[in-house]
């Protein structure tokens, strides 16, 4: 294989790895917003908590941050989910009663607090310099094998999550959550403990965002405060879910792959810009993604793969159900 082909292949594998990691988070957000109607605008916070939790537990001893536990990677990932879930439980206990837009403001605020804490508590996270001694599994002789192995792991995790979430969505549990999303008042009158169930969905979704953070950190072997910017987590994951199809697990995954590919392509594009424009490039990318979302929603108003109720008969109604 010549160098150019190999380079391209590695680029594609890297793309797929990160897209699969984002897909895990998009599934988490789908559980929050798509299924239960919770406007969680704090994806970045849970992502950061998951990333740092797993890193601290698995990294070798270092004078720069809390570490030296040297635990195996699966322990780190499970802990990432647990700690994200616990923090979501605490946040949710305070904010879950808030209705949609207020919950959004609440979660944005709390995510920012989490991020700033992680940025400033140097003893814990090495602050703005970040952590670079993160172990990565399956590191092999060649980059190709390393990339492929990590991708196999993320795809396997993604598959397991997809199967579990589909089973949940199509069970009485999913029916109840969708009912709460459609009308909280009626769900309460039908005997459902709406606040407790919203909290349950909030915690479960946040756990997946934490897992996404852990997968991200072990893949890149670096985590710093800039990786937890809301733009590259909260904003992108939301765009992925909405463009892909809120309420549809497959839509969430498709959205993650499509949007991440385009997001990466915009980097190639902005690299061509003259130097005086380069500083504005990151804003230009956000602008392009926002524009793209508008275009997608003009054509597919409910996302590329809209929510589809398998119990529904007939299926072709007045709404946009193409593709």
């Amino acid at each position: 294989m010549d160098q150019a082909t190999l380079g391209l292949l590695l680029y594609v594998l890297g793309l797929a790895n990160l897209a699969a990691i984002y897909a895990v988070m998009a599934l988490g957000l789908n559980l929050n917003w798509g299924v239960t109607g919770l406007f969680n605008a704090g994806v970045a916070g849970f992502f950061a908590v998951g990333a740092y939790t797993s890193v601290i537990l698995t990294a070798p001893d270092s004078p720069h941050f809390l570490g030296g536990f040297d635990l195996p990677l699966p322990v780190g990932m499970v802990a990432a989910m647990l700690v994200s879930g616990l923090i979501a439980l605490a946040i949710g206990a305070a904010t879950i009663r808030l209705r949609s837009d207020y919950l959004a403001i609440g979660t944005i605020g709390i995510a920012e607090i989490l991020r700033l804490v992680l940025k400033n508590e140097e003893w814990l996270t090495n602050g703005v310099r970040g952590i670079t001694t993160i172990p990565r599994p399956f590191v092999a002789e060649t980059a190709l094998v390393s990339e492929l192995s990590y991708l196999a792991m993320t795809l396997a995790i993604l598959l397991v999550l997809y199967v579990l979430l589909e089973a949940a969505l199509n069970s009485p549990w999913g029916r109840m959550m969708r009912a709460i999303r459609d009308s909280e008042t009626t769900a309460a009158a039908a005997g459902k403990n709406v606040d407790a169930r919203r909290l349950e969905a909030f915690v479960l979704g946040s756990m997946l965002m934490g897992l996404g953070g852990a997968l991200f950190a072990h893949y890149l072997r670096y985590i710093g405060p800039e990786a937890t910017e809301p733009v590259t987590t909260t904003f992108l994951v939301w765009v992925m879910l909405i463009a892909g199809g809120s309420g549809n697990n497959r839509g969430a995954i498709l959205g993650a792959f499509v949007i991440w590919t385009i997001w990466s392509a915009t980097e190639l594009l902005t690299r061509q810009l003259p130097p005086e424009w380069a500083v504005r490039a990151s804003y230009l990318r956000i602008f392009l993604i926002g524009l793209l979302l508008q275009v997608v929603l003009q054509r597919y108003s409910r996302g590329l793969l809209p929510e589809r109720n398998p119990a529904e008969r007939g299926a072709t109604g007045p709404q946009d159900r193409t593709l």
């Binding site: 069970s171 009485p172 459902k192 119990a311």
Partner: protein
């Protein structure tokens, strides 16, 4: 109204929104096994009173007793567990669920409502689902909604949504049902059948009904006892015929308290 302990008892309930006193010191009893009507002009506080009884609003003052127990301020789902069900004046269906699913949501204690069971106790869950599905089908047949069972509930007509509201209460195993204008928007023939159905549920299963209704004919046909509210207070109560012919009731509907009886 004498005799057995009332199933619902409201004592001196008050509810204010800002300066507006929607419910202004209401005390009433609903006899067990009765069909009791609640009438009154628009803005009389009927729906607010229902919202207090069903736990949607906590009264500013006063108490609500269900089967003799103080349930003031309990959330709706806790009241549901105690056998109190309600419908809404403006139907609030689960729009993206099918009509059949709307009913299947209701039964309490479904094992599949725990995500763990949805993954690892599927056999039991599926057996329950079949039983609940059959029950939903029979309710749909009862309500003449079988032909739209698989439609998304948001596509139903206004009258059909009203029926679905009633259907939800039938999926529960209620002791008492609050019906908030179940007849509005339902065609006359069907309404007459519904009235029969309510009577039958009342007689055969002993379900108590407390209903808000504007159709005096329906009230006359169904209700053992009628309460008339105006301006947040109880104006008159008694038999349907007595309430209907009471000049104060006519006055409340027509004159808003200005004209002398």
């Amino acid at each position: 109204m004498s005799g057995a302990r009332p199933i619902i008892r409201v004592e001196e309930a008050r509810l204010s929104f800002g300066g507006v006193r929607a419910v202004d010191g209401v005390s009433l009893s609903v006899a067990r096994g009765s069909i009791t009507g609640l009438i009154g002009p628009n803005g009389a506080g009927k729906s607010s009173l229902f919202n207090i009884i069903a736990g949607r609003y906590r009264p500013t003052a006063g108490r609500v007793l269900l089967e003799g127990e103080d349930v003031t301020g309990l959330p709706p789902h806790a009241l549901f567990a105690r056998g109190l069900c309600r419908t809404f004046q403006i139907p609030a269906e689960f729009g993206q669920l099918t009509v059949r699913e709307n009913l299947m949501v209701v039964p309490a204690g479904q094992s599949g409502e725990r995500i763990w069971n949805a993954w690892f106790a599927r056999k039991r869950m599926l057996e329950e689902e079949e039983a609940i599905g059959r029950r939903a089908d029979s309710v749909l047949e009862f309500l003449r909604l079988s032909h739209v069972a698989g439609e998304l509930a948001c596509r139903l007509s206004g009258g059909q949504k009203k029926l679905l509201e009633l259907g939800r209460t039938m999926m529960a195993e209620p002791k008492v049902v609050l019906l908030d204008e179940i007849g509005a928007g339902v065609n006359k023939t069907l309404l007459a059948e519904l009235a029969e159905d309510i009577r039958r549920l009342n007689r055969e299963r002993g379900i108590t009904f407390f209903l808000i209704e504007h159709d005096m004919e329906l009230i006359g046909r169904l209700c053992d006892h009628v309460v008339c509210m105006a301006e947040g207070r109880i104006l008159v109560e008694g038999s349907a015929a007595a309430v209907r012919s009471d000049p104060r009731v006519l006055d409340a509907y027509l004159g808003g308290g200005r004209a002398a009886a």
